[in-house]
Amino acid sequence: MAGRLLPLELVDRCIGSRIWVIMKGDKEVVGTLRGFDEYVNMVLDDVTEYTVTAAGREKNQLDQILLNGNNVCIMVPGGDPEASSSSSSSSS
């Protein structure tokens, strides 16, 4: 019982580390998590934004962002889409 970790506690533990956020649709965001609120809106630093298109992944670099939590689907602590894409090694 004592060992149970609530989902938002897991997110809280990720503060200060890199996190990979997969949005609903074709967008992904990777950055250093600075903070979040009850909607999981997130403040991220040193951000790379990816947009998945038919041609491949479009990249965009940003300094600091407030990401809207409304379309967040999956969050992967320490994740990196470039390291775990289907074409390269899939172990993570």
Partner: protein, 95 residues
């Protein structure tokens, strides 16, 4: 820029793990009146001065430039963006 850094230090709280936490509300306070890029879910982005915003992420901007696919499409003196369309609000690095 250094002025903004001291401002953020004042408003940071700490988490249970003892790390400094910089919450969305702190970010919003810090970017008010500063140049930002607001990207919508449609992919269109708006670059301008953040005049005002609320908890829904409704945004009022000044000197707004509309970019679609990296191309400047339009300019607006003032504009209002309804919060449900916002993907992110980004700071602009000083050059």
């Amino acid at each position: 820029m250094s002025e903004q850094a001291t401002e953020t230090k004042k408003t940071t709280t700490t988490t249970t793990t003892g790390k400094a936490k910089y919450q969305p509300s702190d970010f919003l306070k810090a970017v008010l009146g500063r140049p930002v890029i607001v990207k919508l879910n449609s992919g269109v982005s708006y670059r301008g001065i953040l005049a005002c915003l609320d908890g829904y992420m409704n945004i009022a901007m000044e000197q707004t430039e509309e970019y679609d696919d990296g191309q400047l499409k339009a300019k607006y003196g003032d504009c209002f963006i309804r919060g449900n369309n916002v993907h992110y609000i980004s700071t602009i690095k000083r050059r």
